[in-house]
Amino acid sequence: MNANRRQSKPARALLHLAARLRRMRRALLLAIPYLLLLGWLLSGGGKGDLRPDELYAARETPVWKAPDREHWFGTTAGGADLFELSRRAMAGSVSVAVLAVSLGIGLALLAVSLSVFDERESRFDWIDRLARALGAIPGLVALAILTGGGGGGLGLVIAGLAMVVALPLCPVLTAWFREGEAGFDILAAGVAGLSRREIVLGRVLPPVLRRLPGVFAALVPAAVLAEMALSFLGFAGGRLSVGAMVARGQDYLIEAPWMAIYPGLFATAVVLVLSLLGWRVSVALRTGPLPLVLQSP
């Protein structure tokens, strides 16, 4: 075999892909349990729209059961299994959080990209000023007003969460762009005659994009907690959510305390796993410290 033989184009592409995958092996390994957890949550049995109002409705002769081997978390007043309900409720909350955080990251990236091709030193100032001024409004206050005042539709919850994620993320992204533009290679690329667009798209943007999965993984648990908090307050519509389950369960604190206890325990376990994985993913991708967007771990 001739060691100096030039490799074919597909072989080089494959090798390049393998090298990239090897560099990302930690994040990829962490993605497996993440996807397994999401898959397990979303594979919950049963179909149809479940409403907490109907499941927890007071009856003359309640048919609830305390936790036993058959029903680990007990049952509701209507006899529905609380474990399955908690699982379906968490699947809903996680789906909402995933969608909202993805949208929020996209929005932040879009806002920053409005100024990124500008060459002036002060190009990101308006974003930083806006984030500082609006940063005085606590995220959950804005969310509560938006969803509570608006009647609590799913679209409002997702849009509100996305806005709350996007606003504090903008200064983080601008800092990363500034950091990326400060390198010697960027200066050299400018001297070599590359256009601003080529430098930004080819050199500055890729490292920023590589860090975004870490941001996503770190923010999802906080968004899950926020969604549950809104549904606890009754501001997230009549959907099934752990927050709504705990709120309805508190009506039966004396007779059936498990209705308020076990769904919260389940939610704690899921958020703990998500935040542990999120923390490891953000460490593996070197995301760096993020602002305390919501009440997040």
Partner: protein, 284 residues
Amino acid sequence: MIRHFLQRLLVATIRFAAAGIALLALVEFSFVVPGGSGHHVWQVESYGLVPPELAPRPLAWGELLRERGSATGRVLFLVVPTVLLVGYGWGILGARLRRYRVASLLAAPFAAFACTPGFWFVGLVAIYSYFHWQRPGFAGDLVVERGPDLLAWWNAAVVALPVAAAGIAWQIRAVAAVLERETARPWTRGLFVAGANNEEIFYGHALRRAVPALATLADRPLPALLGGLVVLEPAFRYPGMGSLLVESIRLGSYPGVLLASLSFAALATLATFLRELAVPPPAA
């Protein structure tokens, strides 16, 4: 000095005004567009007297604000010093012992606790308190009429605990990250080669040089902590500003919503103003 004070005051006023305008726009949008309300924020008739659901006895808005504000003040009195003391203390310790990855270890219990939904935790406390101590569960169940109101402090502590946990976890990591970045700079190697020991380098140089960066972290968690109160106070039936906001939203009372949210915004702006007075922000 006076010039710096006036400059920061002007900036804080502009920021607060911007937050106020944003809140007015948010209330107008959310109640009128998706909410379908016929009242607009600019109409005088939208701002009536205190609804009876918000106060058990007739009160003016100012009195209600003072009453609810003092209850929230009690919670913040417990939360803010705890977050700052534990966050800075353990963050510095974590950075000092960075080779053993102590910062993550110190933050772990708080981060794990912050994963519990706070509204569920305060409900658990109420259940436990009712069944095991034979005491009133939620904050609104008993009012102390004579003697020192220790129960009010207990209620404030229950609300403060989950709020503080998230803030402490974040603060420990943030403080440790700032110090670890400082100790990773090339001059530390120079000092080490020159014969300085670890303690001297860390406490004598790195910590001293990192003070401005550390001070900028002091007010950062406050908006998120205040946001936590919006959920925890109603969950524990604690009569604070968070409860006022949620009850006002449910009743569609614009003055209640605006007073509570503007108070939160004013607190966050004031904290930033005080921090910027002490440590000017880095030039952009």
